[in-house]
């Protein structure tokens, strides 16, 4: 015991009124570094000990307000800036609907931070190595005794004098409390290197697990149940049909939408007679016709339909589109040639849709008019 430094001299009292009087005397005698221990809070004790009112409320105010402001700004940023989404025809910024969440965040941050601040910053908890812990004195004041402990750090401290002084005040028992040097730490424990590294490790593990769960585990079996469904996928077998093919051929005679068979195959005369261009030569139609003409027709017929093939004699040059025969041919006839082919020219039905073919016909008319304008065009 002797080689350990003295922490304090502590005395127990058996009556709360005696304690209050004793605290007054301790104050009068000029001791400042002392503490009073009791199993429950005693009314009027802060006043007797001349403690300043607790400033904890300011912590609450600051963290509560920051919570409210953070919640507001966050929701504003989400709803107005980062992810503007119209819900129920309401405006993006709608303060009344933000209030419940703002309130909850205010309460959460104010109450949690008040407690965290009090326990870990003000009280410097957790502190399991305080000299007073595990002493007989502590075991008494935690049940039914009241204690005063005057610390050796106090300027007026003198072991013999303090012990006598406390006995004079009516103390039941007087204890000398010693401590090991490493027991007394004034820094908050949460800034310990060990604790900080423990916290860092926990953070890494928790965020790692969270990342794994949210980005990998949720997409693994059996959590991806929405992917596993009772349906037949393409290229798989099935027992439903005799031939075990999952994919079926369409019923004979099925015609896909927009793919009606061409009725005038090998019959240009009827095509010219019966087919009528369904499109009117608007700007869009002509643009479409021009684009398709340049893509599919111009390699052989030339950009202006003059039969000047860009293929440089590797194919026989097609006739010019400006001949009288073609100028006088009805739209249906030209459409038939594109659809069915003629002489060396193959059918373009598989490359050019019906609408595009009619648009090309319009564009060919434009090219023809450009070289052989009518009287009326000159006016």
């Amino acid at each position: 015991m002797e080689n350990k430094p003295l922490y304090s001299v502590a005395a127990t009292f058996d009556d709360v009124n005696k304690l209050i009087k004793a605290v007054d005397k301790v104050n009068e005698a000029g001791y400042t570094i002392y503490d009073v221990h009791s199993p429950y809070p005693i009314h009027g004790m802060p006043k007797a000990m001349k403690l300043k009112p607790s400033k904890l409320g300011f912590v609450t105010l600051i963290f509560g307000l920051s919570g409210a402001i953070f919640a507001f700004l966050f929701m504003y940023w989400v709803n107005v800036i980062d992810y503007p989404l119209i819900v129920g025809g309401k405006p993006f910024y709608q303060l009344p609907a933000y209030i419940p969440v703002m309130f909850e965040v205010t309460v959460l941050s104010a109450s949690v931070f008040t407690i965290v601040w009090m326990l870990f910053i003000m009280f410097k908890f957790p502190n399991l190595s305080h000299p007073l812990l595990d002493t007989d004195y502590m075991k008494k004041v935690s049940v039914d005794r009241y204690g005063i402990s005057i610390q050796a750090k106090d300027e007026l401290f003198d072991l013999v004098k303090v012990k006598e002084f406390l006995k004079e005040l009516g103390a039941e028992e007087v204890f000398e409390i010693y401590f090991k040097v490493d027991e007394l730490k004034d820094k908050p424990k949460i800034f310990d290197k060990k604790f900080i590294s423990f916290l860092a490790l926990t953070t890494v593990i928790v965020s790692g697990i969270t990342y794994f769960i949210l980005n990998h585990l949720l997409f693994m079996s059996p959590f991806n149940w929405m992917h596993e469904q009772f349906r037949v996928d393409p290229q798989t077998t099935t027992t439903v049909f005799k031939d075990n093919f999952g994919m079926r051929n369409p019923v004979a005679g099925t015609v896909a939408r927009g793919h009606l068979p061409y009725p005038f195959k090998g019959n240009p005369a009827d095509a010219e007679k019966f087919l009528v261009n369904p499109l009117i030569p608007t700007k869009q139609v002509l643009e479409l016709g021009k684009q398709k003409y340049l893509t599919f027709c111009s390699p052989c017929h030339g950009n202006f339909g003059e039969g000047d093939s860009r293929l440089r004699g590797q194919f026989p040059n097609p006739p010019t589109l400006h001949s009288d025969k073609l100028r006088n041919m009805k739209d249906g006839g030209i459409y038939h040639i594109i659809t069915d082919g003629q002489n060396v020219m193959p059918s373009y039905a598989s490359q050019i849709t019906e609408e595009e073919r009619w648009a090309i016909v319009h564009y060919i008319r434009v090219l023809q008019r450009s070289l052989n304008p009518k009287e009326s065009d000159l006016r």
Partner: protein, 456 residues
Amino acid sequence: MRTIDYSIEPPVVEQNPSLSSINESIAKPLETKPTKGWYIAISISLTMLLIGAVSLGWTFYKGVGVWGVNQPVGWGFDIVNFVFWVGIGHAGTLISAILFLLRQRWRTSIARFAEAMTIFAVMCAGIFPAIHTGRPWLDGYLFPYPNQHALWVNFTSPLLWDVFAVSTYFTVSLVFWYIGLIPDLAALRDRTTNKIKKVVYSILSLGWRHSNRHWQHYEMAYLILAGFATPLVLSVHTIVSFDFAVSIMPGWHTTIFPPYFVAGAVFSGFAMVQNVLIIIRKVFKIEHIITLDTLEKMNKVMLATGMMVGYAYGMEFFIAWYSGNPIEQFVFLNRALGPYAWSYWIMVSCNVLFTQLFWFRKIRRSIPVMFVIAVLVNVGMWFERFVIVVTSLSRDYLPSSWGMYIPTIYDFGILIGSFGLFFTLIFLFIRTLPVVSIAEVKAVLPNSQPSHGGHN
């Protein structure tokens, strides 16, 4: 007639026990071997929990299709149970925070237990919104976190407010409960002779040393927390009621819902606290700490809140008539006379009629009678949520889309399981932590505070 002198506040604790005997009687259940009765009780509650776990496991495997929910009744037992359990939780915070602010000293002996009940009830409640989403492993998306889809939650939806309200409520209740436990854990630490217990209590009590320099801030913190918990508890059930009231469903779209829900929550919560306390005070022989006077006061609170709930039932009918809205009128007539009329009349009789018996002092002070009434109150409050959720959904605007809701055994299994979870946690709690706040009870004992003549 007997006269009572109301100018003298009756003592909170009877028989004037000494400070050390408080420690003895409260720490006793933690230091003795559990009785046979406890083993029987926990095996029943664990069995119930197991039933719930099996039903839930099957639900996870097959999907929520095994429940009775359908079109148009998309909310069934899941939401009924959620609202019921959140309501149960409200008594704890009311007792620990609102009665603290109102300086009702009788709360000290029941506050700890009621707070623990709050936490367990909110845990039970939390299960239901989590599982009713159908794929509970995706519930992380309920919280706004920066995710790989670059999506954010809808902050203007009452369902999202609910996520914030319930999780805040749980966290703050837990903090409030823990902060109250610290001095008691320190007292247990100084008392125990068991090495393992010593380590556990030391860690949990964080090194609390009963210092008055700490008590000063501690009391301030407790006051601040009580000040925050009070509006919080009112906000939680208000927001739960917004889940209904913000919609345009007839029978839900009413402004009376927030106060009506809060009153109902306090009502059912007090009934549950009273039920469990009656058993605990008997089993642990702490009848002098949780006194008959305290129970009588709880019955008075139940009488008051029960009448508020009854007023709300009447007012809903009045407003339905007064609004002149035929659909609203139909919904309320349908509640009282339609296919679910039996549930409506169970609700009215349990919540409004039987509680009127508490006008009689004899009944308020008769333990078996008050126990039965409180059980009935909880049955009635469960049916209140059933009536609200199911009758409105089953018959709304279009008769062509009406439908009936018939719960399946899995619905009942999960309901039983939630009770199993609640009671299992309670039984574990009463064996591991002090069920009554040692420090708070000591502070209200006679002669525990300095007499005013000596010092001021």
